[in-house]
Amino acid sequence: MDLYRGQYDLTNFSTQVHDFDPGISPYPGGLFWTVPIPAIGPVELGTGRARMRATNLAMKDYFDIPSALFRFESPVSVGASASFDIHWHGPVSSRGRVTTAGSSGQLVMSQATMTWSAHNDFGFSFVSNPSGTKSAFAQLGHVKNGVFV
């Protein structure tokens, strides 16, 4: 979950001021920004509906993506916590098969909205505005990879 001041710079991250993620464990080749979360509600591939939420999930604030990847800032990160609630609500705009080598399954394109909040140990906090969100990319699916293919 990334925060930018003034405008997005998704190429050089020059305007990014916060990057909340759970880290890479073990660094650098381990689980990437992936942690256990509470069970999600029903995933309805027919209608493109699902919900993912978590409360007070332990995170870190790496401040920007380059620092999160290469850990060259000091301090590298500070402790943080985040809560979020994401709704995939459809409609399904397209369907297709997984084409990734070594994986199989089906994917559907949907729409999503999200509210979230976070704070770090430096005393910074953020609360998202529930209105005016843009679903840049939303997808649901059922996949198999590795030994399950």
Partner: protein
């Protein structure tokens, strides 16, 4: 679909010079781990027979294994996946279940340590994986994970 070129020489806070290869230009952005696979190294995953040594392994816990999809940036290799049409977005390997991806943008109110407030823009790459997986202990488990 957009993709960003990771030109580390232009970052506001670039990594130390010794870490930067100016010949390395990879596609990467939290916002846009999208379809382009340019720059991905070793993006393969074994298929076929269940490897018996997986079952025999005695890893310490039931945590999932990272995806075997790897990308090398600036000499550092990460286990991560893109998302996009047709792309398995799972960040864990040996997985069978439901997935979701939400790249949502918006605004919100930030409160700084000095008490001042400001409006900031946000961009997210949020995913879930819910199903069964072969853990690092070699056993099959059921679980739900978020890529946050």
């Amino acid at each position: 679909m957009r993709s960003s070129i990771l030109d580390m020489s232009q970052w506001a806070n670039p990594p130390p010079v010794g870490l930067v290869s100016h010949h390395v230009r990879h596609v990467l952005s939290r916002r846009t781990f999208l379809g382009s696979m340019a720059g991905v190294a070793g993006a393969t995953l074994g298929t076929g027979l269940f490897p018996t040594n997986v079952l025999a392994a005695k890893a310490p816990n039931a945590a999932p294994k990272p995806t075997s999809n790897q990308i090398t940036l600036n000499g550092v290799t990460f286990s991560l996946t893109f998302f996009g049409p047709g792309i398995d977005p799972s960040s864990i390997g040996d997985f069978n279940g439901f997935v979701g991806v939400a790249d949502v943008q918006g605004t919100g109110t930030a409160t700084n340590p000095d008490g001042s407030t400001e409006t900031l823009l946000y961009d997210t790459d949020m995913r879930f994986m819910s199903g069964v997986y072969v853990g690092q202990d070699g056993a099959v488990h059921k679980g739900t994970f978020g890529f946050v």
